[in-house]
């Protein structure tokens, strides 16, 4: 057993922390949130040069072939800074999806561009009824000669407003099938949704969008399998980001409780506050250690479906618990836009829905336990 990160991994963690501390302080986070684009291209370009985007891609496609653990370290540090960017939609979700399901030709073409930050891709999976399930994918892709015609709407598409390409999960006669389309193509329009995360969730409309066969990802009917594979890693990566947010929330609150005085004493000396904070710390530590175990299982290629669901359900609930207590301990100031803890309180709710809410994952566990 060895439950430590390597020196190189610790260095990676430090460099992400230093970069984001300098490039994207919390005031910038608020500015990005308030902007129409919801994205800072300058930071993105600088970040692309640091090699974080290609780090987990296989070497044959210009990546570094580093373990999945390294990707989660980056996500964790981004979570600490509440950093808004298309890293998750483009590098994590789409990148992993392409590695799992795209043809050699597609991978050689697309992955290097994602890795250089030049190309932003996102995934359009969910529809109006908000289902996470395979049956929720109904948008028809009708065969028309050599092409397919896509018609309908996709909901909760992250970063569709800034993405260059979309991976659309649609239904053909064979089942769920994935299509790669240019987001600026004819018949495609989007509208931003107003979310608690102040992120780039969009509704994307497809009005008879023509896609050629070359732009299928995987074979017809293979889409759900590819989505499931992607979701395994992407869910865990999101949990790492969420746990970074938990850590920052606890650190911020601890510092505040030591410094804020009432009745001539720091409020951190009151047992009511101490017990809240102890519970927050337990929630964080236990979830973090479990993250490490699940990340290790993935890097080792050990089947981890129910563990991944356990992790997401756990982190969903604990992030909300921690940030709720954190705002409570901050008192009135914690509820203001100018104070940073609110960034995390909102993200806890927003991220709860990413790749499955708690009830969805409970049900997955129940299925895996053959109940």
């Amino acid at each position: 057993m060895d439950l430590d990160f390597t020196k190189e991994q610790e260095m990676l963690r430090k460099s992400v922390d230093e970069f984001l501390t300098k490039e994207c302080p919390f005031d910038s986070v608020r500015e990005i949130e308030d902007s129409e684009e919801g994205f800072d291209k300058k930071i993105w370009k600088k970040m692309a040069r640091l090699g974080w985007m290609e780090l987990h891609f296989p070497e044959e496609y210009g990546g570094l072939g580093d373990p999945f653990a390294d990707l989660t370290i980056i996500m964790e540090e981004m979570g600490k800074k509440a950093f808004p960017s298309p890293f998750f939609s483009s590098v994590v979700m789409s990148g992993i999806l392409l590695v799992e399901g795209a043809s050699e030709k597609q991978k050689k073409k697309l992955l290097p561009d994602i890795a250089s930050g030049k190309l932003l891709i996102t995934l359009a999976q969910y529809e109006q009824d908000g289902s996470y399930l395979e049956s929720g994918i109904t948008l028809p892709a009708e065969a028309d000669g050599e092409d397919y015609i896509l018609s309908g709407r996709k909901f909760f598409v992250l970063d569709a407003n800034i993405a260059d390409k979309l991976i659309v999960a649609a239904r053909t006669t064979e089942g769920v099938t994935l299509f790669l389309v240019d987001s600026g193509g004819e018949g495609i329009s989007f509208q931003k949704m107003h979310t608690i995360g102040k992120d780039n969730n969009c509704v994307v409309s497809f009005d008879k969008v023509r896609v050629s066969q070359d732009n299928l990802i995987g074979s017809p009917g293979e889409g759900w399998k590819i989505l499931e594979k992607m979701a395994q890693k992407a869910t865990v990566a999101k949990c790492a980001e969420m746990l970074g947010g938990c850590k920052e929330s606890i650190d911020m609150t601890t510092a505040y409780a030591k410094q804020r005085e009432q009745y001539s004493t720091p409020i951190g000396g009151f047992q009511a506050i101490q017990h809240y904070m102890a519970d927050m710390r337990v929630a964080y530590d236990t979830s973090l250690y479990y993250l490490h175990k699940v990340v290790w299982m993935i890097d080792e290629g050990i089947e981890a479906s129910k563990e991944i669901s356990a992790l997401k359900a756990q982190v969903n609930e604990q992030y909300k618990f921690i940030t709720e207590r954190a705002v409570q301990i901050h008192g009135g100031i914690g509820t203001t836009r100018e104070f940073n803890i609110g960034l995390f309180y909102r993200r806890a709710k927003a991220f709860e829905y990413v790749l499955g809410d708690t009830d969805f994952h409970y049900e997955r566990i129940a299925e895996a336990l053959e109940l």
Partner: protein, 402 residues
């Protein structure tokens, strides 16, 4: 990062599994669902505890982690954790929590050579059983305020006072006692640790029955009890420091979490084999959600136990204090949740303690009651939270009025 056991560790795990799988078939019906009630509430249960202790003693398992010069073999932390984990899964008795878990480490840390030679081997062989003389009616969480006195008179100490919550005091042959050797001292100063026999004149043991009527706890009264000065352990007046050194801080809680996994397997088996409202209970959405929650808690808890062992192995002792408090807090509240959820899932049958109709032999109803003790004893969960806030987060400590 590597969570895998080594080949040697896997092999030893198999050896433990083989042993417990075979030996636990010898459990008498009175041992019931095990735990402290299984051990202490009946003569048959305690006999089985002794039987298992001797079996483990023969294999050197009770002393495996002790230093070589104390008769142990310096086994690795991992080996001890694996042992705890397997034993916990089988809910097996035999590792006396007071003798092996608490007094032996105290002796190793503070006893003189003669005492180590005299007192450690019977514990290692599984022949000596202890109870713990710490809590008093007015000294619970604030243990250092205890008032039982041990006054030196020539070659002896004379003990007067009262101890309470003495688990197994009616079965154990020995007690380790924390008493005030300096009657003018207060709090942590002037306390000393003693070994004593429970059948000495002047000792009176009264049962303190648990809410379900079972006899686990006792009150112990000392009226001019005379014990030889050679049974004072460590330096007179330094007993508080010696006690604090060995206060559970190094425990991973691995056994508790694997025990929970075993219970969860049984809950799953129950819902899959029970029909209600025209369907299998496992198809009930509430049952599914509750079981998923319990699965998560048991998974997360087990990883915490591994992390604690790793901290121990690395010598991260500050981290360990926080993590061990987290483990006590997490495991006891998880057990509370488990017994509550399981009995909720059982519906009307969730009230049956025993008998042919009781699901899971009443184990969850028993746990529902006994776990309420677990969130209180061995440092209440509030004390654990204080310690996490102080050592883990650096928040200001409580100020005591002198």
């Amino acid at each position: 990062m590597d969570f895998r056991l080594t080949k040697e560790e896997e092999a030893i795990k198999q050896e433990f599994i083989k042993f417990f799988d075979a030996e636990m078939k010898n459990a008498p019906p009175e041992f019931g669902n095990g735990g402290l009630e299984g051990i202490y509430a009946t003569d048959e249960g305690f006999e089985f505890h002794k039987y298992m202790a001797r079996k483990m003693g023969e294999r050197g398992w009770l002393s495996m982690g002790w230093p070589k010069d104390c008769g142990g073999r310096d086994a690795s932390i991992m080996e001890q954790v694996i042992f705890d984990e397997v034993r916990g899964y089988y809910n097996a008795p035999g590792v006396d929590g007071f003798a092996v878990g608490m007094f032996a480490p105290t002796l190793i840390a503070g006893a003189n050579k003669e005492q180590k030679n005299r007192l450690l081997p019977p514990i290692a062989r599984g022949e000596a059983f202890y109870c713990q003389g710490w809590s008093e009616p007015d000294a619970g969480s604030d243990l250092a305020s205890l008032t039982t006195t041990a006054i030196r008179e020539g070659d002896h100490y004379i003990i007067n006072g009262q101890k309470t919550w003495t688990t197994g005091g009616h079965k154990a042959e020995f007690m380790f006692l924390l008493a005030r050797t300096d009657p003018d001292s207060n709090r942590g100063k002037g306390l000393s640790v003693f070994h004593l026999r429970m059948d000495l004149p002047g000792i009176e043991i009264r049962p303190l029955l648990y809410m379900d009527g079972k006899h686990v706890y006792n009150e112990v009264f000392f009226n001019n009890v005379k014990i030889p000065a050679t049974d004072m352990v460590g330096v007179e007046g330094e007993g508080w420091n010696l006690t604090r050194q060995t206060m559970n801080f190094e425990r991973s809680g691995a056994g508790g979490f694997s025990g929970a996994k075993r219970y969860l397997e049984k809950i799953i088996d129950y819902v899959k084999t029970t029909q209600r409202d025209g369907r299998t209970l496992s198809k009930d959405p509430n049952a599914r959600r509750k079981i998923a929650e319990l699965f998560i808690a048991s998974e997360v808890g087990q990883t915490l136990a591994y992390k604690i062992s790793w901290m121990h192995q690395k010598g991260d002792f500050m981290g360990l204090i926080t993590a061990a408090c987290e483990s006590k807090l997490f495991s006891t509240e998880m057990a509370q949740q488990m017994s509550n959820y399981a009995t909720e899932i059982m519906g009307l049958y969730g009230q049956l303690e025993a008998g042919e109709h009781a699901p899971m032999d009443g184990s969850m109803v028993e746990l529902y009651q006994f776990v309420k003790g677990a969130t209180i004893f061995a440092g209440t969960n509030e004390i654990q939270r204080n310690l996490i806030a102080w050592t883990g987060l650096g928040l200001p400590r409580l100020k005591f009025r002198p």
